[in-house]
């Protein structure tokens, strides 16, 4: 089978207009630079519409979307149940002077659903919640230092960035300490060296950093971290912005057998309606109450209604199990497609958020970038160096189509690289 090769004339023209009035044309992770569009000619820039597991670009090309808007799309774009709840709420009220009671209903649902949640605080983006988590930890402990795992991503606020990043002052990252993932001894050592000074340890449930094979927690790692944090009065923050709702509806900490003090949600919480939530243990409720933290749209009712519908539907579908099965079906097929053409596709991370790398002897990722480009040109939207996301709307037929495209893309690589 031979697949149509996409053209992006309208996307390119739209980008030319965009870059005249918008910095970088499309900035951030959806843009060609941070999104690692390699080469840029292989990727669409602007979407026209989206439905289920697909989006169509402005040139009319359809894509099976394995990025799911980088996570928010968990039930399928335009899910009818979630949208019905949102549209219904929009007829009643959204952004108002007194907030809708929907926020209480959602907080109650989160407390009932998420194992480590005794309360919920709402905002808009994942970074809003990670920043609030750090401020809460500092307020509660009256300490300043934060321990991070090397290769982390917790948003774009200055404290989440690094020395040398444009616009970031040395003082803003002066209290950041770094340890390798899965290295409990390193955590013990840094805690010992900074006795009484560490406010929090913040990490994702497993290492799903970019540009590297993703790594699950070692046996007993989280339990040892939990125990030491409790002993030393360190607030344990789980950044569940990416994994949240895809591994375990009770929280990814629950999935790995421990309890966080603070857990951050966003992305899939409302299937694309703009909402994030910080949930936490009762002993931190007073501290978070004292933090000055708010935003113009944070208590809008429509996303609350969407989130309630989304969580209830995810429960009904037992969604994490569904996504795991779909992820395994897909990645097993992709591995075989690679092997059939003499390549080794390394799959890592959890199946619902799989990470891909075509192994090459030079370890420079160029072969993988060529393969991803060939897939995208044929209507399968993978990205090069970020984990992918499964969603409920993806069918077995979509997965079969994807594997066929992947196989053809590997055949192209084989033809282009007779030396391998």
């Amino acid at each position: 089978m031979s697949f149509k090769i996409n053209k992006y004339d309208k996307s390119r023209k739209a980008f030319e207009r965009a870059e005249k009035v918008i910095p970088s044309g499309v900035y951030g992770h959806l843009g060609p630079a941070e999104g690692c569009f390699i080469p840029v000619e292989a990727f669409p820039i602007f979407a026209e519409k989206a439905e289920g597991t697909y989006f169509w670009d402005v040139d009319g090309n359809r894509f099976i979307d394995y990025m799911c808007a980088y996570g928010p799309n968990i039930l399928g774009y335009g899910d009818k149940d979630v949208n019905a709840a949102a549209f219904e709420q929009s007829k009643i009220a959204d952004c108002t002077t007194s907030p809708s009671f929907k926020m209480v209903e959602l907080a109650e649902l989160l407390v009932d659903t998420v194992k480590s949640a005794d309360w919920a605080f709402f905002a808009k983006n994942g970074g809003d919640t990670t920043t609030l988590a750090i401020m809460t930890a500092r307020a509660a402990t009256r300490r300043k230092k934060i321990v991070f795992v090397s290769g982390f991503y917790h948003g774009v606020a200055p404290w989440t960035q690094k020395l040398g990043y444009p616009g970031v002052m040395e003082e803003e990252v002066a209290n950041n300490l770094y340890i390798p993932w899965n290295d409990f001894e390193a955590f013990e050592k840094i805690v010992d060296e900074n006795e009484g000074e560490i406010a929090a340890f913040i990490a994702t449930p497993y290492m799903h950093g970019n540009f590297q094979d993703n790594e699950l927690p070692a046996d007993g790692y989280w339990q040892k971290v939990r125990k030491l944090c409790t002993q030393k009065g360190i607030v344990l923050i789980v950044d569940d912005v990416r994994c949240g709702w895809r591994l375990d509806l009770a929280g990814s900490d629950h999935y790995y057998g421990f309890e966080a003090d603070l857990i951050c949600f966003c992305k899939a919480l409302a299937n694309g309606w703009n909402l994030s939530a910080l949930c936490g243990k009762d002993w931190l409720k007073s501290a978070v109450s004292g933090v000055t933290y708010t935003g113009s749209y944070w208590l809008s009712a429509v996303p609350f209604a969407a989130a309630i519908a989304c969580i209830n539907k995810m429960k009904k579908l037992n969604l994490p199990e569904v996504l795991r099965k779909k992820g395994l079906m897909l990645t097993d097929g992709l591995r075989i497609a690679a092997a059939n053409n003499g390549f080794n596709l390394v799959v890592s991370g959890e199946p619902a958020l799989f990470y891909l790398r075509t192994a090459d002897k030079d370890n420079n990722l160029m072969l993988h970038q060529e393969w991803v480009a060939e897939c995208v040109k044929r209507g399968v939207f993978f990205t090069n160096h970020h984990n992918h996301f499964m969603n409920a709307a993806m069918t077995d037929e979509d997965i079969k189509f994807t594997i066929e495209v992947a196989e053809e893309a590997y055949r192209v690589l084989r033809k282009n690289h007779p030396e391998l």
């Binding site: 980008f15 044309g25 499309v26 630079a33 820039i45 040398g164 540009f211 990722l365 160029m366 090069n384």
Partner: protein, 252 residues
Amino acid sequence: MVDQRTLAYINLYAVLGTLENLCELDPAADALLTNKKPISIGFEIKGGPSATLTFKNGRCRMEQGVEDCDVKLPFSSCEKFNGLLDGTVTPVPSKGFAHIKFLLKEFTPLTDLLAKYMRPNPEDLKDEEFFRISTTLMFYTIAVAIAQIANNDKVGKFTANLIVDGDIEMSIVNGPAATLRAKNGRIVALKRAPENPRAIMRFESIQLARDLFDGKINAVATIGTGKITMKGMISMLDNLNRLLDRVAFYLA
């Protein structure tokens, strides 16, 4: 605040080191040295770097250390050496007084010529050949300066530590190329393309490179236009761009 020690490394290896390329690119530089006896000038900077420039057969070459130089210029501090580059300090040789004529008659005109290319007036840049030489020299200066910042500047060292080992190609299509070799958090710059790059940052044209170096455009913003090609281990390039940003801090 500019770190004087880092600036001394940049001034010696990246700025004066570009005399190597000037002698290859500009016949006027070549003419200043042709039919002259080989001579070497050592720069010895207390608390900083030391290197020797050797002029031979119309060509120039820089090597680390001052052991075998004919003329030695000692500087009591990095600040004093940096003063040489901005014209506020006049060096006094500690060795090779007999060659003082070379310093005055050949070396000074050479550095003046280099300054003409490195800090060009806009009129000169309208000349295509001048533009090409000027931008090429700037390219090599920046490539070497990146390494000095990575190895000496506090912020640069933090950034360099985030770069995985391997060769980065920085190049201009139909123009110069450099290798930035990262190993164990340090970077070495070589004025040639790597044979087996782990990451590539390639500028579409010399004009684009110039605009980037002059700060008229931003590398991240230009990627979307396809005028800068990036491939391979993108995290290396991400951090390289942060070092590139830092070059302007020292050489602005």
